[in-house]
């Protein structure tokens, strides 16, 4: 009865991903604290682990307030979109051979499509709040996503050309000999940068830029609606880290340990890297970010496709 197995996989993936994302709040706070010479949350439960539970309970019991001046349906829809799109992306992620909700043959395209849809949540959230800070945040998000979506997709085309498939499991299997991070190093760097921008994490947290726009697009959000943006961001981090692992670091491939464990270890390493970035870097201005995107990143991504294509053709 394969549909039972399907449902179990869906539920397990949903459960694991959401809990992982919530757990990341604790991981991020402890790691940041470590790098910043302080303790971080260490009071609730062993090592402060129950902080996550405390935070979740707090979010659920906070007043879920919709400002009277907001555009109500859109205001409610926006945080749902962010959760929906990142969770949908996880349906095509293969965690290990055979462990995936659905191993689509256009898996990579599906992920890119979902992440493009995800932008709407930020823009709509910023617009529906009818708050000047939110509006500016939404505008910045739109500008940032436009600039970075373009070369994010293009950066991956090198990998696709080499494998000849959009299926994520096929891409992993193609890395038996060599991880794509070596032949596609440029693509890796470009995707990494675009990935940070995509998840709106420091140094590219320009749409929320605390010191400038208070909380940017989600200034007016509270309670669990804010929580959706919050968790959505962490799920996004997990997603981008998982993608980097799959596309450039051989996914579940690795000696000795079980495949699933390899996948988790690699993904976790990238998650930590994301957090380290946040601890280390200042935030560029959004016009600088855009000019880097269009003037440097996009030409590099195009050059990468050209060179990869030429080499693949020549090798034939």
């Amino acid at each position: 009865m394969p549909w039972v197995i399907h449902i179990v996989t869906v539920v397990v993936v949903l459960f694991v991903v959401l809990n992982l994302a919530a757990g990341l709040i604790w991981v991020e706070r402890r790691l940041l604290a470590l790098w910043q010479d302080r303790y971080g949350p260490n009071r609730v439960g062993p090592f402060g682990l129950l902080q996550v539970a405390a935070d979740t309970i707090k979010l659920f019991f906070k007043e879920d307030w919709v400002p009277p001046f907001a555009d109500k349906p859109v205001f409610i829809l926006a945080p749902a979109i962010v959760m929906l799109t990142v969770l949908m992306s996880f349906t095509v992620i293969p965690f290990a051979p055979g462990i995936a909700v659905s191993d689509l043959n256009i898996g990579l395209l599906f992920v890119l499509a979902m992440s493009s849809l995800g932008v709407y949540s930020v823009v709509l959230g910023g617009w529906a709040s009818d708050n000047k800070y939110s509006l500016l945040g939404g505008l910045r998000a739109a500008a940032q996503m436009l600039s970075y979506e373009v070369f994010m997709g293009l950066a991956l085309m090198g990998v696709v050309i080499m494998v000849g498939s959009f299926s994520l499991s096929a891409i992993v299997e193609a890395q038996q000999k060599i991880w794509f991070v070596i032949p596609q190093f440029l693509g890796f760097i470009l995707f990494l940068i675009a990935g940070v921008a995509e998840t709106r994490r420091l140094p590219f947290d320009i749409p929320e830029a605390e010191s400038e726009l208070v909380a940017g697009f989600h200034s007016e959000y509270s309670g669990m609606k804010f929580g959706m943006f919050f968790i959505g961001e962490y799920v996004g981090v997990v997603l981008i880290s998982a993608l980097i692992t799959l596309l450039f670091f051989g996914g579940w491939l690795g000696p000795g340990l079980p495949p699933l464990l390899w996948f988790i270890i690699k993904t976790f390493a990238f998650i930590c890297f994301f957090i380290l970035l946040r601890a280390g870097l200042p935030r560029p201005r959004f016009d600088q970010l855009m000019s880097w995107g269009w003037k440097i990143m996009l030409p590099l991504a195009l050059a990468n496709i050209l060179v990869t294509g030429a080499v693949v053709l020549w090798a034939r």
Binding site: D37, R38, S211, E212, G280, P282
Partner: protein, 585 residues
């Protein structure tokens, strides 16, 4: 600042404008001072700013005195309210004090905003506090008090305590009226709501905003994200420190000074005491002076560390603020060991300091002097050499030396433009002339260069502190002169009634400072801090004027931010290093 130079400028003016128009008034601080009639004021000031050789290019301060109940006014022209202008000449390295007498029924004076744009806020403050009208001022509105305030607080007949004013009540109608008074109307500021091709957004930044470092309200006129114009609105942190100065005794006002530039700690005490000690003719003993210099420089570092971390945070870097606050904590440990308190040590006293240094102070300070430089190297790598940081700060919010002087900008912000002017070197107060240190400067006057100067200043302060440890003289930590407060117990206090009474009065009432006026200025953490004190021969000050660096610095904000983006505004705010308490007093 010798006597002949003093006479020279006054003679020069008397020759030019007639002896009747220039009435000299000797002061205790050797700053040349004179009275001039209101009609001649603009002319005299224009001459001093633009024509005289060695021009007085900076409007250092502009304030007023309510003279109506002052008793010691020997030889001064009759006046109910006097305007006081302090000018600074960099060529002469000299201040000049100009006074204008006004009569109660006719409190009008010509504006000098045409001559010095920086006079704008100062004149608004004088109007707010004294009700003196400046004819021709572009926007003479209240600046520190709420718009709904009735009366002018620094007038002698205005109550100084809440208990003199009847119970405070806030019925709904009043609350609505107060809130309505805060509504921003662009037309009042000569701003348009739209241009030919765009409607402007008016964005309220503050008074509660994570990027403003305190209760500051900035109203931005935005075209998209580009700043067309901005209006800084201050006064939310106003506590009436100058009014309190007229209520507290000379001695008991010291803790209030701590809270002016609340990151500068004892540095504020020093500015205040420099003025009092000029009035009282006290020279503190060498040990007290060196202790003062050492603690002041430690506070310069403490203040700069706060600025360093928060500036990095303003451009989006999360971690440095934790590192610099950790370092600051170590410096506070020393302050705590010496003073018992941390941010507001209230440690300097008239004629010295509160107590001698504790046992083991040398080790603590030597440890800190050894500890900090490697940390600063680390921050150079993390912050100053970070390419995103540079991209955010280089070429942003730059001003030139001329603009700085025009707008009254002093301290690190002036030196960032390449002008080496530091009061510790140019007009050495306390014992700064005994120490070797350099005055760091930069060239472009932008956000990055302002940071460069401050970072290097920390290293120079460490040098001074190190020399203080090496050269710490022995002897008393407080003067035995009769006006030093609270007085030390000399050996003979308990032997005869005269010394006992004197000591008792000195402790209970505090000293009676001889009548006169003095301006004490120091190179504080954020720029030049000056106290202009008027004594009427009593145990309290007749007028305490606090000239703070942050006030003129904040006034330049619109110039720096026009045409920039919102993100740049935050970089600019971080780089000019202000404290709201220092602006609003």
């Amino acid at each position: 600042m010798n006597a002949t130079a003093t006479a020279a400028i006054l003679d020069d003016l008397a020759e030019k404008f007639g002896a009747d128009s220039i009435v000299a008034q000797p002061a205790r601080d050797a700053i040349p001072a004179f009275w001039t009639p209101r009609e001649k004021l603009t002319e005299v000031l224009r001459y001093l700013k633009t024509e005289v050789s060695g021009p007085y290019r900076m409007l250092y301060d502009l304030t007023a005195i309510d003279e109506r109940v002052r008793t010691h006014r020997d030889g001064q022209p009759p006046s109910d309210f006097s305007l006081v202008y302090h000018l600074l000449s960099f060529d002469r390295n000299e201040f000049l004090r100009i006074k204008v007498a006004l009569k109660s029924g006719d409190l009008h004076a010509p504006t000098i905003t045409g001559l010095w744009p920086a006079a704008n806020w100062y004149e608004r403050e004088v109007w707010d506090m004294f009700g003196i009208v400046f004819d021709g001022h572009p926007h003479l509105a209240r600046i520190l008090m709420p718009r709904t305030w009735v009366g002018h607080p620094l007038r002698k007949d205005h109550p100084a305590r809440a208990t003199e004013m009847g119970p405070f009540q806030l019925p709904d109608e009043k609350q609505d009226a107060e809130q309505e008074a805060l509504r921003f109307r662009p037309e009042e500021w000569g701003m348009k709501r739209s241009s030919e091709d765009t409607d402007f957004i008016f964005l309220n930044i503050g008074p509660q905003h994570p990027g403003t470092h305190g209760v500051l309200r900035i109203i931005l006129q935005l075209d998209g994200e580009e700043i067309v114009d901005c209006v800084p609105e201050i006064g939310f942190h106003h506590r009436g420190a100058e009014k309190m100065g007229e209520r507290q005794t000379w001695h008991t006002f010291i803790p209030y000074t701590d809270r002016i530039d609340y990151l500068g700690g004892v540095m504020n005490n020093l500015a205040y005491l420099t003025a009092i000690e000029k009035l009282a003719g006290i020279t503190p003993p060498p040990r007290a002076q060196v202790i003062r210099v050492m603690l002041s420089e430690l506070f310069r570092i403490i203040s700069h560390l706060v600025w360093y971390g928060t500036f990095a945070q303003d451009v989006g870097q999360l971690s440095p603020v934790f590192f610099t606050f950790n370092d600051r904590e170590r410096a506070f440990e020393i302050i705590e060991a010496v003073c018992g308190a941390r941010m507001h040590p209230n440690w300097f006293r008239i004629g010295g300091v509160a107590q001698d240094l504790p046992k083991g102070w040398e080790t603590m300070i030597r440890d800190f002097v050894k500890y900090l430089p490697p940390r600063l190297v680390e921050y150079d790598k993390e912050i100053m050499r970070n390419r995103i940081f540079k991209a955010r700060t280089k070429g942003i919010g730059a001003y030139t030396v001329d603009e700085c002087i025009e707008w009254g900008v002093t301290g690190p912000n002036l030196r960032a433009c390449g002008y080496e002017w530091d009061f510790r070197k140019k007009q050495p107060y306390s014992v700064y002339d005994q120490f070797e240190f350099d005055i760091p400067t930069a060239q472009h006057g932008d956000c990055y260069d302002r940071a460069v100067v401050r970072v290097e200043e920390m290293r120079q302060s460490l040098r001074i502190i190190e020399q203080c440890v090496e050269q710490m003289p022995g002897g008393s930590y407080k003067s035995l002169q009769p006006l030093a407060a609270p007085p030390l117990k000399p050996d003979n206090t308990m032997h005869d009634i005269e010394t006992l009474i004197n000591h008792f009065l000195g402790v209970s009432w505090g000293p009676v400072i001889p009548p006169g006026e003095a301006l004490g200025t120091i190179e504080a953490t954020k720029g030049n801090n000056g106290y202009y004190l008027v004594s009427d021969g009593s145990t309290v000050s007749y007028r305490t004027r606090i000239r703070t660096p942050s006030f003129p610095h904040m006034q330049t904000l619109p110039n720096l931010s026009r045409g920039m983006l919102v993100s740049d505004l935050l970089a600019i705010l971080g780089s000019i290093d202000f404290v709201l308490a220092d602006i609003d007093r």
